[in-house]
Symmetry: C2
Subunit: 505 residues, 2 copies
C-alpha cells in the first residue's frame, strides 16, 4: 500500500534537477545558501559526539553496502559503539511492556490476558493523565503520581533517606536532564565563565553540551592504574589549575562509570562531596547504571545517600542533581526516552526558573514516563507478575555480569591490550599499545592512532568500536570503547585480528 504516487500527474510543472540547473544557468543567477559552514553557529560546529561519530557513519555505509551485495571480509557489521541492549537482542521486560500497552490502548484493561497488577499500574498512571490519556501533555515536571512513585523508590533504595517528590523531574532520557541543569549553570565571560569539571574518560554528551553552551571544560583524569578510580588529589589539581582561567561551578560524576565501568567506593564519594561542599560546587551525579553493578566486592552508593550520612550540614546545603533513565539497568528501554532527575537544595527562585525552562518543551514523552514508573514500582511479592518479572530481571543482569567478566578476560588474553575489571555499567575501555611505526603512520595521515586502529578493525572484521580519543584519554595513551553486549561476536575475531593488526602496523 506504500508505493509512491504517480508524480507525473503534476505535469510540466515538474523539473528534474538537471533541467533546473539549465534553467538557472540561462537565468545566469543562482541564489546563495543562507546557511553554510561559514555562517553556521560556531558552537554547533564545535560539538563532537564520538558515539555516533564518523566511524559509526562509516559502519552504516558498509552495512548498506553489504545489503547491496558488496564484498567484505565479513558478513555483518557488529555495532559495539553504544549501549543499545534491545538492538543487541536483549528482550524487553514483559511487565513493563504490558503496562505501556495498557496505557496506550486502555480497551485492553478489559482483556483477561493481562495480569491484574499490570492493569492496576496502568489505571493509576492514566488517572494521573489529563483526560486519562497518554496523549495529553503532562505537567512539565512529569505526571504527579509517577513523581511520587519515584520518591518512594529512592527512599527504599537509600534505606529510608527522605525523598520529596517535589524535587523529582521526569526527563526525556537522562541526557535531557543533564543538559537542562548545565544550561542553568553556564554564565559569565572570560575568566568568570562557568567551568564544568568532568571525568576523563567521559561520556561525550558532557563535552558536547559544554561546547554547545560555550562553557569551559575542566578535565579530571580517572586513575587507569587503579581501576579508573577517582582520585581526590586529581580533583584538587584540576580545580586549582582551572581557577586561573575560569569559574569552576559544577562537578559531574558518572557512577558506575561510562565508558570506564568502575564503581565508586563510599569513601571516594564522601571525598567528592566534601570537596564540592568546600569549593561551593554544584554536584551532578549521573547514576543511570545504578542497577548495573557486577563485581561482588563493589556496591552502588547513591551520592544522595552518602550526602545524607555526612549529616545535615551537607545534606541540607549541597546542591545535588542525580540522574536515572529507562535506557540502561535491566530494562534497556532506550527508545522510550524515559528518565528522571532528583534535584536537592535548589534555591527556590532558581527552582521556578528550572520549571519555566522545562515548560518550554512542554513535557517529556508520557509513554517514557510510564516506562519509568514500572522500573521504580515493580511487582511486589504478593502480586501475580512478581515471579516472572524477577526471573526476567535476574536473567538480564546475570547475562550482563557474565559478559562484563568475560569481556575483561578475553581482552586481557590479547597481546597489546590491557583491560581493567568491568565492575559495572555496560562498557570496557581497554588500553591498546600501538607500535611507534603505526603511531607515526596515523600522524602522517592526520588521524589519531586509535582512530586508525578502529577504522582498520571495522574494515577487516566489521566490528564498530569508538576510539578512546572520542572520550578523552591521557596524552600518549590509546584506548577504544566497546559495549560488552557484543561479546560473543567479538570473541570469534578479536584475538586473531589484533595480532594481524599489530603485525601489519
Amino acid at each position: 500500500p506504500l508505493c509512491r504516487p504517480d508524480t507525473q500527474e503534476y505535469g510540466q510543472k515538474r523539473f528534474s534537477t538537471a533541467e533546473a540547473t539549465v534553467v538557472l544557468r540561462e537565468n545566469g543567477k543562482m541564489r546563495e545558501k543562507s546557511l553554510t559552514m561559514d555562517t553556521l553557529n560556531p558552537q554547533v560546529k564545535a560539538v563532537e559526539y564520538a558515539v555516533r561519530g564518523p566511524i559509526v557513519t562509516k559502519a552504516g555505509d558498509i552495512e548498506r553496502g553489504l545489503q547491496q551485495g558488496q564484498k567484505h571480509p565479513f558478513t555483518e557489521v557488529i555495532k559495539a559503539n553504544i549501549g543499545d541492549s534491545h538492538a543487541m537482542g536483549q528482550k524487553p521486560i514483559t511487565f513493563l511492556r504490558q503496562v505501556v500497552a495498557l496505557c496506550s490502548f486502555p480497551e485492553l484493561l478489559d482483556s483477561s490476558s493481562f495480569p491484574e497488577d499490570a492493569k492496576q499500574r496502568a489505571r493509576r498512571i492514566l488517572q494521573g493523565c489529563g483526560g486519562q490519556s497518554l496523549g495529553s501533555y503532562s505537567a512539565s515536571q512529569g505526571v504527579d503520581c509517577i513523581r511520587q512513585d519515584i520518591a518512594v523508590y529512592i527512599e527504599q533504595r537509600d534505606k529510608g533517606v527522605p525523598a520529596d517528590w517535589d524535587n523529582i523531574y521526569l526527563t526525556t532520557g537522562a541526557s535531557d536532564g543533564i543538559v537542562s541543569i548545565l544550561k542553568m549553570l553556564v554564565s559569565g565571560q572570560g575568566r568568570s565563565r562557568s567551568g564544568v569539571m568532568i571525568p576523563i574518560p567521559q561520556y561525550p554528551l558532557y563535552s558536547a553540551a559544554i561546547s554547545e553552551m560555550e562553557a569551559v571544560q575542566i578535565n579530571y583524569y580517572l586513575d587507569e592504574d587503579n581501576c579508573w578510580a577517582l582520585d581526590i588529589n586529581e580533583l584538587h589539581r584540576a580545580y586549582q589549575a582551572a581557577k586561573e582561567h575560569c569559574h569552576p561551578r559544577v562537578i559531574c560524576i558518572i557512577n558506575p562509570g561510562n565508558p570506564t565501568g568502575q564503581v565508586q567506593s563510599k569513601k571516594c564519594i564522601e571525598e567528592v562531596l566534601h570537596f564540592a561542599y568546600e569549593e561551593n560546587l554544584f554536584v551532578m551525579s549521573d547514576e543511570v547504571y545504578q542497577d548495573n553493578v557486577y563485581s561482588p566486592d563493589c556496591q552502588f552508593h547513591s551520592f544522595k545517600k552518602v550526602l545524607y550520612e555526612m549529616g545535615p550540614e551537607y545534606f541540607n546545603t549541597v546542591e545535588l542533581a542525580s540522574f536515572h533513565s529507562t535506557s540502561k539497568g535491566y530494562s534497556g528501554e532506550c527508545g522510550f526516552r524515559g528518565g528522571y532527575m532528583e534535584v536537592l537544595n535548589l534555591d527556590l527562585e532558581v527552582k521556578a526558573q528550572l520549571v519555566k525552562l522545562l515548560s518550554v518543551r512542554l513535557c517529556p514523552p508520557v509513554s517514557g514516563q510510564a516506562a519509568m514508573d514500572v522500573i521504580v514500582n515493580p511487582p511486589l511479592p504478593h502480586e501475580p507478575s512478581y515471579l516472572q518479572f524477577h526471573k526476567e530481571k535476574r536473567a538480564v543482569l546475570g547475562a550482563l555480569a557474565e559478559k562484563a567478566q568475560m569481556t575483561e578476560q578475553i581482552l586481557n588474553t590479547v597481546p597489546g591490550i590491557k583491560c581493567n575489571p568491568v565492575q559495572g555499567a555496560m562498557y570496557a575501555f581497554p588500553r591498546i599499545f600501538i607500535p611507534p611505526r603505526a603511531v607515526e603512520e596515523a600522524m602522517s595521515l592526520g588521524i589519531s592512532p586509535d582512530m586508525m586502529y578502529c577504522l582498520r578493525l571495522l574494515e577487516e572484521t566489521g566490528i564498530c568500536l569508538v576510539p578512546g580519543s572520542g572520550f578523552g584519554q591521557r596524552e600518549g595513551t590509546y584506548h577504544f570503547s566497546l559495549h560488552t553486549l557484543t561479546l560473543e561476536s567479538l570473541k570469534l575475531v578479536f584475538q586473531p585480528l589484533h595480532k594481524l593488526l599489530v603485525n601489519k602496523l
Copy 2:
C-alpha cells in the same frame, strides 16, 4: 502497595529540617548556594513562556485549593491556555493507539482482537527498529521506513511534488525541530548577530528559544483588521528596520496561525517566499495545524508546494524547514511527543552538522515516531480499519470546526470583545477593549491590563486564559488567547462575566 516505607528504620541518622537548622546554627556555618538568581544563566532568566506562565501556575494553585475544599465562586478550573485535546476530553484515534500498543507489546500481534492493517503497520515499524524493539535507539534522524512513509505522505499532500526521505527528520514534537534549526542559524555578535523574524502575535516557543539563544527577535505584525493576514509590506518594514542593528537570517511563519487562527492564502505565501529568496533568508514554516482548516473559503497550502510551483529557481535554492506534529490535527497526541521536519536545500556540510547535533540527544521517542507513522500512513479504502478511522477523524475535525465557529460568534456577542474568524488551528485571539480607568489601575499595580483581566477572570470564574501580552500585540491593544476546545464551558459564563468585569473595572 505504594505506601511510603518506614523511614524511622534509618534511626538517629534522620534529621528534620528544623533540627538541621539548629545543628547548623550551632556550627555557626551555612554553605551558600552555588546557584542563585544572581549566578543563574541570564539567557535562562530571559526566557518567557506565557502558555505555562504565572496565570497557569495560579490556576493550578486554585485547582489544588478546590480539591482541598477551598471555596470559590466556581467548582472547577477550566484550562483554556493550551491546545491539549485529550485533556479536554477528545478521544484518541483507535487505529493509532492499536498500532502503538502492538508495537509496545508485540505478543498482541497474535491476538485476534486487533485488525490486520494495524498489525501490518506495527510489523513494518518493528522491522525498522533495532532488534525489532521499540526499546532500541533509532537513528538520530528517525526510523528509516517511517521517514519513507512521511515522504510519501508529503508527495500525496502536495499533489506529487517530489519529497526525498533523506530530507525528513523525526523530532520530539515540533518544538524540538524548531529549536534545532534555530540553533544552527544563530551566530555573530553585535550588529552581525542573527535576527529571527517572527509574527506578532506568535506562539511563545519562538520568543523563548530566541531569548535562550541570545538571538535578535524581529517582530512583524499580523494585520488584525484583515483577519490576522500577513502583509508583505510589513515584512519589508520589519526587515529594513532590523538590518540597522542585526543580521536578519531567518523568517518564521505559523500557518495556520497560532494563536491567531488565520489560514494564509497562496498569494501571500508566494510573496513571503519571494521575499525570503530576495533577502536570502532561511524559511521556517510551522505547519502543525495543516489538518485544522475550518473556513470553507480557506485551504491549506504547504510552503513547500508553493515554492515548487514558483519554479526551480526557487524550489532548488530556497532553504525551507517545515514542521509537523502528532499533537494537533485530528489525533491530538501531545503526550507522545512525535513530530517531523522536512528540510530543503540544506548545504550538504551543514546537513552533516545537523545530524551530528541531533545525534547528541540520540533519537526522538520511538513510540512518538510510531504515532507519527500512523498519521502519515492511515488505513486505505480496502483495509479493515478504513471506515472507523475516517468516522473518528471526521467526528473530531467536525467538532473542532463547529467549536471554532461558535467561539467566534459567542465572543463577538460580548460587548467589549472583538474576535476575528477562526479559520484554522485551535485558538481564538480576541481583542478586548479595557476601560481607561482599568488600564490605569493595572499600570498602578505594575501588571499589564490584559493580565489583570485574565487574573480577575480566573478568580471570578475559574477560566484560565493567557493574556495577549504573552504572545505579543500592538502597543495599546489588549487580547487574550483561548483554546476553542473549552467552548461549552465558556459559553455558560463568558457574557455575564465580561459585563461584570467591565462594570467593575
